[in-house]
Amino acid sequence: MKYFDPHIHLTSRTTDDLEAMAAAGIRAVIEPAFWIGQPRTRIGSYIDYFSSLIGWERFRASQFGIAHYCTIGLNSKEANNEALAEEVLNLVPRFALKEGVVAIGEIGFDEITAAEEHAYRVQLEFAVQNDMLVMVHSPHRDKKRGIQLSIEIAREMGLGMEKLIIDHNNEETVDDTLRSGAWAAFTIYPHTKMDSARMVEVVKKYGPERIIVDSSADWGISNPLSVPETAALMESSGVDAETIRRVTWQNALDAYAQSGQIDVAALEAEAQIDQTRTFLDNSVLRGQQPERSVKS
């Protein structure tokens, strides 16, 4: 079985995680630009962070046979530092059109402030102008209203609903999201957002249409194997194989392949690993024998 985890913050994870993910069948990931746990205070921090998403992190994942895509954007929480946010909004276009950037994201609302709405609108406008997808982070609190507002504004700005992925849904928000025509992603967190057992119930109730499972694993208590583990639970709970394939692989692929940045044929083929490669002379290896499966 092959899996696509379309939301994971690999910057915060170790090579042990990457190894375990590859072994569990995760073939592709998307790493959205996000809040790194405490506020950044200078534009340089964003430049280096965005650079790492399209550089070192992509390379690191590739060393384990995992195709790495990313999204670029100013997250909602840091949109509230208005002076710095303006600088970041000017920086986003410098990174958002790079190879392998599949969407603007994760953007949206946190506390639902005016500053957050401003940043959301500016980035939506850029996405619409450049025919890009948008990955929306929905807030921890006042989630329902946050999602309704995110959809409303995206529609008003002229974004096609098939280009909108709303993440971190739950039982209370899934109806609104699906009804809008957007993709409904669900984050499986061990203790908070959604757990695997609840996800099974959601899939049983709504079927596979436009539903996506992801881990959003990051610096907090989270599980980089959420997607395969949820798939296993679906299987043992009697969900049919085609439904599982769609919510843990095909839907994410269909949604994000709209960006034109995913080589679908390469993903369908077996992973090519070449640990003899380096990135700016850096390797992920620490004295180990490099693994190599590239056909020369």
Partner: protein, 302 residues
């Protein structure tokens, strides 16, 4: 603003037993240095150096000390203050330019470079300072922090938010406190700033928790007051019929706050703990305050 000298006297009274001679000598000199005018870097350095004189341990403020604190600033309760907070807040209050432009500039610079302990102390200092508008963004930023200690230093026992936060910031603070299970009963001024919007957000959160098969945080019910209409009453009735003892007690108090005090006699009759039953009965006639929630939840749970 509060009178800095009175606050400094209060701090000196509380610091007495916590510092040795060298520590006492250091803070006196440091305060004199600050009062004489220091550059921003030196000020931030002195805040850091305080950690070489005392540990971030509870200051164990006496009950007289807490009463005196409430006289100095209505509502302020230093119950959670550490010894380091006392030292650092005294350094802030020693500045003679708090009402000028340079005061806030130095303090905001200290926030920017602050470690967890410094951020907590600075958050606690804000309630005493003039020019509160200069610190508003920073105060909100403390509430956005992922570090619960920093959030609680700003949100709990602190007079600043209720006085200065706008509606959006205030609701975000309150609902976050519920969400992360911070002590909402210690968010000063909550009872005076309840609203329809806050009640709706709280009820949405309760629905989410139930959909997820999880218990509703008992203190969530403090957010309703007389707001939320029939939806609030329905949600509360569901809670008083539920399995969570803490949830039942808190929802009973919330029913009284919603004007349904007559329901409490029946609910108290079904309460197995005598202390909790007495608290519910006491809440029949007079709408229970924030403190009443803590009293009910602190009763032993069967």
């Amino acid at each position: 603003m509060s009178n800095p000298q009175e606050l400094l006297d209060w701090i000196d009274g509380e610091l007495g037993c916590h510092l040795d001679e060298a520590g006492d000598d250091w803070i006196r000199k440091a305060r004199a240095e600050v009062a004489g005018g220091v550059d921003d870097g030196r000020f931030a350095q002195l805040l850091a150096l305080a950690s070489r004189q005392a540990r971030r341990r509870a200051a164990d403020i006496s009950s007289e000390g807490r009463s005196r604190a409430a006289e100095l600033l209505a509502g302020w309760d230093p119950v959670a203050w550490s010894v380091l907070d006392l030292l650092r807040v005294s350094l802030v209050l020693s500045r003679d330019d708090l009402a000028e432009e340079s005061g806030p500039r130095a303090i905001l610079e200290a926030f920017r470079f602050g470690d967890v302990g410094e951020l907590c102390a600075l958050a606690r200092a804000l309630q005493f300072l003039p020019q509160p508008e200069a610190y508003l963004w920073q105060a909100r930023e403390c509430c956005r922090s992922n570090m619960n200690e920093v959030f609680e230093a700003m949100a709990c026992d602190n007079a600043f938010p209720a006085k200065h936060f706008d509606e959006v910031a205030w609701r975000a603070l309150v609902v976050k406190a519920v969400f992360i299970s911070a002590p909402l009963d210690r968010v000063l001024g909550l009872d005076n700033r309840l609203s329809e919007d806050l009640a709706r957000m709280a009820l949405d959160l309760a629905d989410e928790r139930r959909s997820a098969g999880r218990e509703v945080q008992p203190l969530l019910w403090m957010c309703l007051g007389r707001h939320g209409g029939q939806r609030a009453l329905d949600s509360l009735e569901r809670e008083v019929a539920g399995d969570s003892v803490a949830g039942r007690r808190a929802a009973a108090l919330a029913l009284s706050r919603a004007g349904e005090g007559q329901r409490l006699a029946a609910l108290a009759a079904g309460e197995s703990d005598p202390q909790a039953a007495a608290a519910l009965l006491a809440a029949q006639d007079e709408a229970p305050t924030q403190a009443a929630f803590r009293a009910v939840l602190d009763c032993p749970l069967p």
